[in-house]
């Protein structure tokens, strides 16, 4: 302890502290989406039949495909971490790039899905939507809010991971110093977990 904490030493590194901070941040994200889940549960309790009916409008195949895409992207992130721990820079970058590609794929499929909904007049403030029962309007309101916010998180996660890719290339992230990549990965996994809940709520069990 003696000289490690001496006042004029270089900033001491605390990897666990960094991860602790990241997890606390993830807690705020969990609760943020938790608020939306609370709203969903409340509304679903109010309009069970309408939710069932409106849920049938969604394309479950696309939803499930996207789930697999996102799960796989989560896998590649964690694999990139294993690679960096083994000092394998090439593999790390390959895995990370795969994640980026998969993430973009997710967004493309998602925008496809949204476009179809817009086409059918199922978007907030649409004249057609206004003619549907109240519960269905609320369902689509929640659908767009929750998948939209999730989409924003995907975009944020992608930017973070892209930045990590650059850092790996520059060897600022390397075998003996990878907590940044670890934290970036944590964020990406959380985005994945949220989607794990969104899938059944909207596509399967509504």
């Amino acid at each position: 302890m003696s000289d490690a904490t001496h006042a004029h030493d270089a900033v001491h590194r605390d990897d666990f502290g960094a991860r602790l901070g990241m997890w606390l941040f993830l807690v705020t994200e969990i609760v943020l989406f938790g608020g939306l889940f609370i709203a969903y549960a409340y509304m679903r309790a109010t309009y069970p039949a309408e939710f069932h009916h409106a849920g049938a409008e969604l394309n479950a195949t696309l939803g499930v495909t996207n789930t697999v895409v996102l799960l796989t992207s989560s896998l590649t992130v964690v694999l990139s971490l294993v690679a960096i721990q083994r000092g394998d820079k090439v593999k790390t970058m390959a895995f990370l790039s795969t994640t980026l590609v998969l993430g973009v794929t997710f967004l493309v499929i998602k925008s496809f899905e949204w476009a179809t909904k817009f086409h059918h007049g199922l978007y907030p403030n649409a004249p057609h939507l206004a003619t549907l029962p109240h519960g269905e309007q609320v369902f689509f309101g929640l659908y767009f809010t929750m998948t939209g916010l999730h989409g924003l998180h995907v975009i944020a996660g992608l930017s973070v991971l892209a930045y990590m890719l650059v850092k790996v290339a520059r060897e600022e992230i390397r075998q003996d110093q990878y907590v940044l990549l670890e934290n970036g990965g944590l964020y990406w996994h959380l985005v994945d977990v949220i989607w794990i809940f969104l899938l059944p709520l909207f596509y399967l069990a509504a």
Binding site: A4, L20, I38, A45, H52, H189
Partner: protein
């Protein structure tokens, strides 16, 4: 607890070595995909099955991600507690909210 800085660096060093390899994670991923399939399957049998699938399988999937992909398995009690506290809080929020919604 009393000498956090020391335990921290020791932990960080040990961290890399005790890490599992590619295989574990691929297996976890397979389990996740299978569970997703199961979830889809259940939803074909009707609404109530779908809801049961939602209530049972989704938390299992989420825990797998938390536990393996997010390394909670390899972390000390602090991070685990933090996650449990946040989930517990949400659960209580739900319960209290439904003390209103369910009894109106």
């Amino acid at each position: 607890m009393s000498e956090p800085a020391i335990t921290a660096s020791a932990h960080a060093d040990a961290h890399g070595i005790e890490h599992p390899g590619y295989g574990t994670f691929v297996k976890v991923w397979l389990a996740l995909v299978v569970l997703t399939g199961l979830l889809v399957l259940m939803s074909h049998f009707g609404q109530s099955y779908a809801v049961w699938g939602l209530l049972i399988l989704t938390p299992i999937k989420a825990s797998l991600v938390f536990y393996f992909f997010m390394h909670l398995r390899y972390e000390g009690p602090l991070l685990k507690t933090i996650v449990l506290v946040s989930l517990g809080t949400l659960l209580i929020f739900f319960a209290l909210l439904f003390s209103d919604v369910a009894f109106r």
